[in-house]
């Protein structure tokens, strides 16, 4: 390498980024209640402790329900919006799209606070449902952004060809459009799932007495005795994330290979 300084910078940067994640499994298997070096021995006690925590399971269940619902719903909405924005021209298109994308740059605190005020005013009880609504609001812009580029790259004459060959607009969408934007749909589902899963502010504000994973983990840090179990939980989450990403990337690449499109790097 010509520039040792740049190389050093790159290495330091990567260490800063990933060292904390490497520490998670290290302490998860460490036989000590104190999170500090030196390591004192190997144990799976913390995983046991995590496994027996019914509160945790409830939080995980809530989080999964919320993440799956909001990713599926926002991706559906994203498909509609992306289709409309790439295929049709209508009055006010620009401003409508702008308003859809706005929550992406709006501070989440504002979104959470204003939603809370509205919900309390209309007397809607806080629950998983209200969290899903909040997450839908912040996930949809990401879904629209990802899906717009997928729909944009679709050659319009493909749809016309299918229509010309006797298919209806609906069957054309199912047979031609949907398979070709599938990589985009997978990307969108994955991003929205991730955003929803680790979202804190809205889940905390709108959750009422329902706890989700991020809020639960935050709460556990008040009890030093439980921190090693959190480390164990973190380890499991990291492994799951890697698995999920690999699967999604596999399907995305397969979709691209099938259609012979150029790999533009996807969302990663």
């Amino acid at each position: 390498m010509k520039f040792p300084a740049l190389k050093t910078y790159a290495i330091v940067y990567l260490i800063f980024l990933y060292a904390p994640i490497v520490l998670l499994p290290l302490f998860a298997f460490n036989n000590s209640k104190v999170i500090a070096f030196p390591l004192s021995g190997f144990t799976t006690e913390w995983f046991q402790m995590m496994w027996n925590d019914t509160q945790l399971f409830k939080a995980v269940k809530n989080s999964l329900i919320i993440a799956v619902s909001s990713s599926v719903l926002s991706t559906c909405l994203g498909v509609f919006a992306a289709r409309a924005s790439t295929r049709f021209n209508f009055p006010g298109k620009g401003s409508i799209l702008g308003l859809i994308m706005l929550p992406m740059v709006l501070p989440e605190m504002i979104v959470a606070m204003s939603l809370l005020v509205v919900l309390l005013t209309i007397g809607m009880p806080l629950s998983i449902l209200t969290i899903i609504m909040g997450h839908l609001l912040i996930c949809t812009p990401f879904a629209v952004a990802i899906l717009s580029s997928a729909f944009q790259s679709l050659d319009r004459s493909l749809e016309e060809a299918a229509y010309d060959l006797g298919e209806t607009p609906a069957s054309t969408f199912r047979l031609i459009v949907l398979p070709l934007v599938m990589p985009g749909i997978i990307s969108s589902l994955l991003i929205c799932f991730t955003i929803s899963l680790d979202e804190f502010i809205i889940a905390y504000f709108l959750g009422g007495n329902q706890t989700v994973l991020s809020v639960y983990i935050y709460g556990q840090f008040r009890f030093p005795a439980r921190v090693p179990a959190i480390m164990a939980l973190g380890t499991v989450l990291v492994c799951l994330s890697i698995c999920l990403l690999s699967i999604a990337e596999f399907y995305r690449r397969r979709g691209i290979a099938r259609t012979g499109a150029k790999d533009t790097g996807g969302f990663l």
């Binding site: 016309e160 060809a161 299918a162 229509y163 010309d164 060959l165 298919e167 031609i176 259609t259």
Partner: protein, 366 residues
């Protein structure tokens, strides 16, 4: 039976199309016969593709009517029309195999697997892609994609096949081969072909009749030979091949023709059928194609008339040589072309020469 005796397949009745304020089609009137190879020729933006798409049903018209096989097309959605299209980008479905692409239109016919396989096989054989069925469509070359698009459109046995610049993406050699193959294919299947192209040579080679379009209007609709030899306007003449123009004065004669005095050539008589855009008086133009002028070598006598000139530019093409010759008494040189045959040397720039010409090759323009 000649084409003109056949029944009408497509009829345009005063077709108008506006995009907002833009007047894309300005009153198109034309009929296309069954089994005809018809071309829409014009520069980009002249409305030829728009007109083709009104037949397919992808463009609504603002007023007028398009009749397909006697029925008003406005009532028929694109997926029910007896037309199929070969798109400029070919629009091959990239996630399907060649076989699935070609058989796509048969999905709705509920054929047995064997029958389906047989028809797809036939269609692939017709376009010379036998054995390509299992390949992934996106792995094909440009020429192969074009054939797949053709097979896919023809498998439904449409009454009209619409071709939107189907050869423009191919290289020159392949394009010329495909032109011949398309003509053969059209004769074989007997379906009306309507081709959109901006390539005048392609249109001349392939078509029974050509509609030349400028700015949303049909400037001239004729068979290739008439179009080439008797263009109705300077615009058409310029678009199709090369044409020389010389200023002239014209006086009508009792037989409907004109006595003209052409700068550099002199006086002659032009009969009525050589004056499609008839005009009299000063400031008219006489046009002629490069190959209608011949350089006279030493000892050669003209079959009709001759006029002296000087060679100004020589462009050697291998089989042909193009000369720009300044005729005595004319400011602008005229272009003429000569076949290169043995015993006919290529002339040098500056050579004094004699040029043979005939009034029968002249066309009178406004």
């Amino acid at each position: 039976m000649t084409v003109s005796d056949k029944p009408t397949m497509i009829e345009f009745r005063d077709v108008q199309k506006y995009y907002g304020d833009y007047h894309a089609l300005r009153g198109i009137n034309a009929t296309i016969k069954a089994g005809e190879f018809f071309s829409l020729l014009g520069p980009s933006g002249c409305g030829k593709t728009t007109l083709l798409r009104t037949i397919a049903g992808f463009e609504d018209i603002s007023s007028g009517a398009v009749l397909i096989d006697g029925k008003d097309a406005a009532q028929i959605p694109p997926n029910k029309r007896p037309t199929n299209m070969v798109f400029q980008s070919y629009a091959i479905f990239p996630h399907l195999t060649v076989e699935q692409n070609v058989g796509f239109g048969l999905r709705r016919e509920n054929l047995s697997k064997d029958e389906m396989g047989r028809r797809v096989g036939e269609a692939l054989e017709m376009v010379g892609l036998k054995g390509f069925g299992k390949r992934a469509a996106h792995a094909l070359s440009g020429g192969q994609r074009q054939r797949v698009a053709l097979a896919r459109a023809l498998i439904l046995k449409p009454k009209v096949l619409l071709l939107d610049e189907p050869l423009s993406a191919l290289d020159k050699k392949l394009r010329e081969n495909m032109q011949v193959e398309l003509i053969k294919l059209q004769r074989q299947v007997g379906i009306t072909f309507i081709l959109v192209t901006h390539d005048q040579e392609e249109a001349l080679v392939m078509s029974d009749r050509i509609a030349v379009m400028f700015e949303g209007q049909i400037a001239q609709l004729d068979d290739p030979e008439t179009l080439y030899r008797r263009p109705k306007s300077r615009q058409v003449a310029d678009f199709i091949g090369t044409m020389n123009f010389l200023p002239a004065t014209a006086h009508p004669t009792s037989d409907g023709g004109f006595d003209v005095d052409v700068a550099g050539l002199g006086q002659c008589h032009i009969p009525a059928d050589q004056a499609p855009g008839a005009a009299t008086g000063n400031g008219v133009n006489v046009g002629f194609r490069p190959e209608t002028l011949t350089i006279l070598y030493e000892g050669q006598q003209p079959t009709d008339r001759e006029t002296p000139g000087t060679v100004e530019e020589v462009v050697y093409y291998g089989d042909m040589t193009y000369y720009d010759v300044k005729l005595d008494g004319v400011a602008e040189p005229v272009r003429l072309s000569m076949r290169n045959v043995p015993g006919r040397p290529v002339l040098d720039i500056g050579t004094r020469t004699r040029v043979a010409w005939s009034p029968s090759a002249l066309v009178l323009f406004r």
